[in-house]
């Protein structure tokens, strides 16, 4: 009987994951006929949801109505603190990565984002991605990021109550830049040091499965088992599957 318990948990996790993924699909289907928009990586300062373009400058969130795509119309500005770096829209919230924390805005009214909270952490450079109830934030030390800081890390933040984010896990990283999440996989770009594949079957505790040291990685896009990675070596594409291995597709080298 005892041997069966871990299996039972795994099964439950799998069912949970399926439910989660289904929920996401349903959500995206809800919005009806929506414009075709693309997807960026976690390092992006630009993000589009439906007919709104969000831009984070170094100190503000600029909102543009793009119903008429050729003529963006300024809809709102939200002044933020200093050192704003990235924006990641997820469902009805905007997650904004800053040097000293993560801002969460609700954009249920796309042209009028409402400030919910600021999750403060040590000074660092920190893109963020979100899946389900967890946000994954990389904190990178460096000359301009975490002066005199200790070490880089990957933090897991429970955002199920977006007004009260709580850190539930943290682990050491080398020099993390962009990251991407899909299903039970989390990918972390470690700059010139390479590219990590992590398992997040337990979303609170990512476990490193692979470290591809020959793929310099700055930003990544993950979609449908497809990986697009850029870095100092050029642009790399891979497929991956549940066996934690990746298949090389192509490379556009840097010349």
């Amino acid at each position: 009987m005892k041997k069966l318990i871990p299996l039972l948990f795994l099964g439950l996790a799998a069912i949970g994951l399926m439910l989660l993924l289904n929920a996401c699909n349903e959500n995206s289907g809800d919005s009806g006929p929506s414009p075709q928009t693309g997807a960026g990586g976690s390092m992006a300062r630009f993000a589009i949801t439906d007919n709104t373009l969000y831009i984070v400058s170094k100190q503000s969130l600029e909102v543009y109505d793009i119903n008429d795509g050729g003529n963006p119309a300024k809809a709102a500005t939200r002044n933020l603190g200093v050192g704003i770096e990235t924006i990641f829209p997820y469902q009805k919230n905007l997650f904004i990565g800053a040097m000293d924390g993560m801002y969460i805005y609700n954009n249920a009214k796309p042209n009028d984002p409402k400030f919910l909270t600021k999750y403060t952490h040590v000074l660092s450079c920190d893109p963020v991605v979100v899946q389900g109830r967890y946000a994954y934030v990389t904190l990178r030390t460096g000359v301009n990021c975490r002066p005199g800081g200790s070490f880089s890390s990957l933090d897991v933040v429970d955002i199920s109550d977006p007004e009260k984010p709580q850190m539930v896990g943290s682990q050491r990283m080398d020099s993390p830049y962009g990251l991407g999440v899909s299903g039970n996989k989390l990918f972390v770009c470690e700059g010139d040091r390479g590219f990590k594949m992590m398992d997040i079957t337990d979303p609170k505790a990512p476990v490193q499965k692979q470290f591809f040291r020959d793929v310099p990685a700055y930003d990544v896009i993950v979609r449908n088992n497809h990986l697009i990675v850029t870095g100092n070596g050029g642009l790399y594409q891979y497929n991956y599957d549940d066996s934690d291995s990746i298949t090389y597709l192509s490379k556009i080298p840097v010349l």
């Binding site: 928009t37 997807a39 990586g41 300062r45 589009i48 963006p72 200093v82 697009i228 556009i252």
Partner: protein
């Protein structure tokens, strides 16, 4: 500055009585704190001494900045952020522009064209419209034909920026708006300590 206070304090030390020493030490400390305080009230204020190198602004005229050119496909040199849309990939060339790549077959991506945009780092696409930053300007580009993108519109001053280098603990020449718009900062040897620090 601090170095100066410190040496002054040291030199006088020998000829002072213990009581005076204490007062002086306190005032030295106060001065030290003041000297920090008077710098830019930025969380990253460092205590670097000027070491003969500093950052100098690179200026361009508004006309040069506004020049957007669609060119033949170019090799990647310093790729930055990526953006996917439909079967296309958009790859930023740090500070230089955007590569448009046909990714219908990810095993054989085809580099289609390059849009040269000064100060570009970001990309987003909706339908046939591509949005890109051009320093503080927001550009709208029609990519209905991704082999021949058409530059459509500039929204000036859409993205507020800073007039200082993206570094801390450094000295730099203060930006002079009369000379043009700062597009970059170069590290150079300087005889005199420049007036700006962060």
């Amino acid at each position: 500055m601090q170095r100066l206070h410190a040496t002054l304090c040291l030199k006088r030390k020998s000829i002072l009585t213990a009581a005076m020493k204490r007062t002086l030490l306190a005032s030295c400390l106060a001065l030290l704190m003041l000297s920090c305080f008077h710098r830019e009230p930025d969380p990253f204020v460092g205590n670097e001494k000027f070491n003969g190198t500093g950052y100098r602004p690179v200026y361009k005229s508004p006309d040069e900045i506004a020049k957007v050119e669609v060119q033949a496909a170019q090799a990647l040199k310093k790729p930055g952020k990526i953006y996917t849309f439909d079967r296309y990939l958009f790859v930023n060339e740090l500070g230089k522009g955007i590569h448009i790549i046909d990714n219908t077959d990810p095993k054989k991506p085809e580099n289609l064209s390059f849009i040269s945009i000064l100060g570009n780092y970001d990309i987003a696409v909706k339908d046939n419209w591509l949005y890109a930053d051009n320093l503080s300007n927001l550009l709208v580009i029609d990519i209905a034909d991704p082999r021949a993108p058409k530059f459509t519109k500039t929204i000036p001053n859409a993205i507020p920026g800073y007039n200082y280098p993206p570094l801390t603990g450094i000295y730099f020449e203060c930006a002079d708006p009369k000379k043009g718009i700062v597009v970059d900062w170069e590290k150079v040897e300087m005889e005199k300590q420049p007036n700006c620090y962060r």
